[in-house]
């Protein structure tokens, strides 16, 4: 550079010229996603909250709706029932999950993988589908109690009232704890344990002082998920004929009294408050305790051989838990093949009639499910990749808000989304004159918004593993940002994207809370709804169970595919 240019040099290197560090296409994508989230998450939920605090006559702010809520015995009792059921589900879920997680990560024995796999099976069935089967197995006149009565003349009220909800939900949701605790245990640096042993700790003290505290953040994450899910669940209590819980109350108010009944909205606000509150408490608790990054070695706990009496005990505990946990599937299968099953330990006879009926008369349930869940999965993945990219690879203003907003869907109960959509879009008319709230695509949107957090996490995780230098190398060789995304990022993210899609698809295909509010015609209904309708009548139980088994099969295949994709994606990374 010549001397003439010297005065200009500080300008070039200094702060005088700050180039815009985002591009218009990025901003447009961010804006579009923002609008989507606004229309189908923020506005509906805000609407619900708004209505709860507004006086219907004057339109002003009021707390009178909440006073009505508190003054009514049923609602207060429902609230405490919901809290109790959720808490008990955490307790029982913990009891099921901890031994399985600890034994399988800690000891070297045959079947550890089988246990881990079977342990997750309950998740791949709508909880309400198992509910009826559980009545037949564990109810007052169910298989277990009939046998117990015959042998010991006792009758255990597994399924009476709230017990039933706790029992069914704990069995359904405990895998969240199992998965989180197992992952946490596997992430513990082996040297953490060995250094404690080296200093004289062993056995239960070692577990209590070192292993448990290190796995605690994982446990809390799983436990709070169970609590929130159970608190929000609508269909299981309804199917077990338990009405005095919050989510069913909201549904009953809106469907029986109408969309204008403020109590439904008040209950929605309470549901949101409890969800957000429990998640907030858990983050406070976990804050500063996320040790994964501090530990360097990894590799998990040292696996030990288990022998003799310990092995027999461990296997005994595991088999007992697995039997219990797989009971709903077993019961549902029996029910779907039974001619008549009532007041007897096992069905009187077997038939394929129910499957026939489901396939030929109610095939739309299956096709609707695949259509809705598939579309929802695609929306989730597209949004997930886009938001993930904007957050991690660009500097578009407001990108973090997209992320936060999408994640808040975690804390919004399905019932609330359903009520919010009804309230917001009932007045919007489609070109053919029908209400937008009755349009089947709203179900897809509700499913998509509710699954978005999971897909988003899967996509960001995939993006996180891709070194920036891979993209920089492409740009260095002349690829534009857009082409780099298409040719480098997306192919490398395939595994994550596929996992995100399948998870969204599988969980969306058995979701019922939001769907139940939004289904207007049985011809538009997905499988989960059809199952619910069938299960209302004793005659429908057989076909209902058959539908449930079909749902399980669909979800099981998807989960297996997801597993394959993730494994395939991970394989080359391992040395």
């Amino acid at each position: 550079m010549g001397t003439v240019a010297a005065p200009a040099a500080p300008m070039a290197y200094g702060k005088a010229v700050v180039p815009r560090d985002w591009t218009w296409p990025q901003a447009v994508v961010a804006g579009g996603i923002g609008l989507f989230l606004l229309a189908f998450l923020v506005v509906p939920v805000a609407n619900v909250v708004f209505v709860a605090f507004v006086d219907r006559a004057s339109g002003g702010f009021t707390l009178v709706n909440f006073q009505d809520f508190l003054a009514n015995d049923i609602f207060v009792r429902s609230f405490w029932n919901s809290i109790w059921v959720s808490a008990m589900c955490v307790v029982w879920g913990t009891a099921f999950a901890l031994p399985l997680a600890y034994f399988t990560t800690r000891f070297q024995f045959r079947g550890a993988i089988l246990v881990q796999t079977l342990g997750v099976v309950p998740l791949i069935m709508p909880p309400f589908a198992g509910a009826v089967a559980m009545q037949l197995l564990f109810g007052r006149n169910g298989t277990v109690n009939l046998l117990l009565g015959e042998w010991f003349d006792i009758n255990i009220p597994f399924m009476e009232g709230l017990n039933g909800v706790v029992f069914v939900q704990a069995i359904h949701y405990f895998p969240f704890i199992l998965l989180n605790v197992s992952a946490a245990l596997r992430n513990i640096d082996r040297a953490m344990e060995e250094s404690a042993q080296n200093l004289g700790a062993s056995g239960f003290r070692l577990f209590r002082r070192i292993i448990f505290p290190l796995a605690l953040p994982g446990y809390v994450a799983g436990a709070v998920l169970v609590f929130v899910k159970v608190f929000d669940d609508l269909a299981t209590p309804l199917l077990l004929n338990v009405r005095e819980m919050l989510a069913p109350q909201a549904y009953l108010r809106i469907t029986s009294i109408g969309i204008d009944d403020p109590i439904g909205y008040v209950i929605s606000v309470v549901l949101i408050a409890v969800s957000v509150g429990s998640m907030w408490i858990s983050t406070l608790f976990v804050r500063g305790r996320d040790y994964a990054t501090v530990q360097r070695g990894g590799g998990g706990l040292a696996k030990r051989m288990i022998t003799g009496r310990d092995a027999i005990m461990a296997y005994g505990v595991i088999i007992l838990i697995l039997l219990l946990v797989l009971a709903p599937h077993f019961g549902l299968l029996l029910l779907s093949l039974a001619t008549v099953w009532s007041f007897s330990p096992l069905p009187d006879g077997f038939t394929l009639r129910h499957y026939e009926r489901v396939f030929f008369e109610s095939g739309q349930y299956i096709t609707n499910t695949i259509l809705y869940a598939g579309l929802a999965g695609v929306i989730c993945v597209v949004l997930g990749v886009a938001i993930g990219y904007l957050v991690m690879r660009t500097r578009v203003p407001g990108r973090h808000w997209l992320d936060y907003t999408a994640m808040t869907a975690l804390a919004v109960p399905g019932v609330v989304i359903g009520i919010g959509y009804l309230r917001t879009y009932i007045g919007v008319k489609l070109p053919d004159g029908t209400s937008m709230a009755a349009f089947w695509f709203m179900i897809v949107l509700a499913l998509a918004v509710r699954r978005l957090p999971y897909a988003l996490r899967a996509c960001t995780a995939a993006l996180h593993q891709i070194s920036r230098s891979l993209e920089e190398a492409a740009e260095n060789l002349g690829a534009t940002k857009g082409r780099t995304v298409r040719r480098i990022l997306v192919p490398l993210m395939t595994g994550g994207i596929a996992a995100g899609f399948v998870t969204s698809f599988a969980t969306a295909s058995v979701e019922l809370s939001a769907t139940m509010m939004l289904v207007q015609r049985t011809s538009d209904a997905p499988l989960a709804y059809g199952l619910y309708v069938f299960m209302q009548s004793p005659a429908g139980r057989g076909p209902g169970a058959a539908l449930g088994i079909i749902a399980v099969v669909i979800v099981a295949i998807c989960t297996f595919l997801a597993h394959l994709l993730v494994e395939k994606d991970r394989a080359p990374a391992d040395r």
Partner: protein
């Protein structure tokens, strides 16, 4: 043990004896018939390349690996059957393994609590141990708030506070930067001397082992190659692996000839080195010399007395500061020769044919 922390009794140091240890993981034979005696109060190193079994041997002493045969005794007591938590063997892990959910003080107190030391005694002993490593003021910090060097000291304090019978250090300096490494290794040596604690130090870095250890066991492929003081190993390597692993060694081919006092080693392509009469020289022996034991001279000059002349061509040159290291291609192999560098000297030109005059008194005869 007395109950006053301040006057901690210095326990008599104990020796470690390892006898006939064989250890395999599946079909991989990791330790092959390892036997070793470590004297009380000794600072001992296991030195070898990665995968040589040195860390496995250390973990065996701590009880984290199980040998198929052999025994380990500490202070004459066989501990082979004891679980790790009953061995009273202090180990500092390579990753430090500080528990992130406990403060520094709680980390250090852990071993005392496990030993049911009275509560009143724990706090002063923790403080004393932290003072010893110079971190008394950081007792309430979390491990994640400390630098790598500080974490390393906490790990050390956590181990020595329980006054273990012996101290095992698994590559304790590998996570520190170069400057800190020099400082910490010196501190480790001072600490070990003041505690008179039998210590084993695992490392792949010969400089680390040389600078702080009394004796070293050089390991390769699961076999102990040689045990001795750093100078012993350098001056009298038992085999070519040891010769090459400690310092730089020039290895030349050739053959021993003659008998009695007339024995000499004839280097392939020229040069004769007399073999001392007392030295037994097995077949297949090679001549080894260090870069500082030869001179590069013009071919015209006759070799000085006590030196033998090798001829070759200069192929490479590295300026190291105090010395210039030349690589000379000889008929018997390539040799590295260090020439002292004094300011203003000219460097020799690459490609020149030169004489390498080897100090015959410093030459070593090493078996493969």
């Amino acid at each position: 043990m007395t109950s006053t922390a301040a006057q901690a009794p210095r326990l008599e140091p104990v020796g470690i004896s390892i006898a006939g240890v064989n250890l395999s993981y599946g079909t991989t034979h990791v330790l092959k018939d390892v036997s070793l005696e470590i004297a009380p109060g000794e600072f001992f190193a296991f030195l070898g390349p990665s995968g040589c079994g040195k860390t496995t041997l250390l973990r065996l002493i701590a009880g984290f690996a199980q040998a198929q045969t052999g025994r380990v005794a500490i202070g004459g007591e066989d501990i082979s059957a004891l679980p790790p938590w009953k061995r009273d063997v202090g180990m500092v892990f390579q990753s430090y393994a500080l528990w992130p959910h406990m403060s520094v003080a709680r980390n250090v107190a852990f071993g005392l609590e496990e030993r049911r030391v009275p509560r009143a005694e724990i706090a002063p002993r923790v403080q004393e141990a932290l003072e010893l490593v110079g971190l008394g003021h950081l007792a309430d910090r979390r491990p994640s708030q400390l630098s790598g060097g500080q974490q390393q000291r906490v790990a050390l304090a956590r181990t020595i506070v329980v006054r273990p019978k012996v101290l095992l250090l698994d590559e304790p300096l590998s996570n520190l930067d170069a400057k800190l490494r020099v400082q910490v290794r010196r501190e480790l040596r001072d600490l070990q001397q003041s505690l008179r604690l039998t210590t084993i130090f695992v490392t792949h870095d010969q400089e680390e082992a040389n600078t702080i250890c009394d004796r070293i066991a050089v390991m390769n492929e699961g076999v102990i190659q040689q045990v001795g003081s750093p100078m012993d190993l350098y001056d009298r390597p038992a085999n070519l692996f040891v010769a090459g692993f400690l310092g730089t060694a020039n290895i030349l081919d050739g053959a021993a000839e003659g008998a009695g006092t007339e024995r000499a080693f004839r280097v392939t392509g020229g040069g004769i080195v007399p073999i001392p009469a007392a030295l037994a020289v097995p077949a297949g022996v090679k001549l080894v010399f260090r870069p500082q034991n030869a001179l590069i001279v013009p071919l015209a000059a006759p070799p000085a007395p006590g030196r033998t002349r090798l001829e070759g061509r200069l192929v490479h040159r590295e300026f190291l500061g105090a010395t210039i290291r030349y690589a000379v291609r000889l008929a018997a192999g390539e040799a590295l020769v260090d020439q002292p560098h004094h300011g203003g000297d000219d460097q020799l030109a690459i490609g020149a044919t030169v004489g390498v005059d080897l100090d015959t008194g410093k030459a070593l005869f090493v078996a493969a």
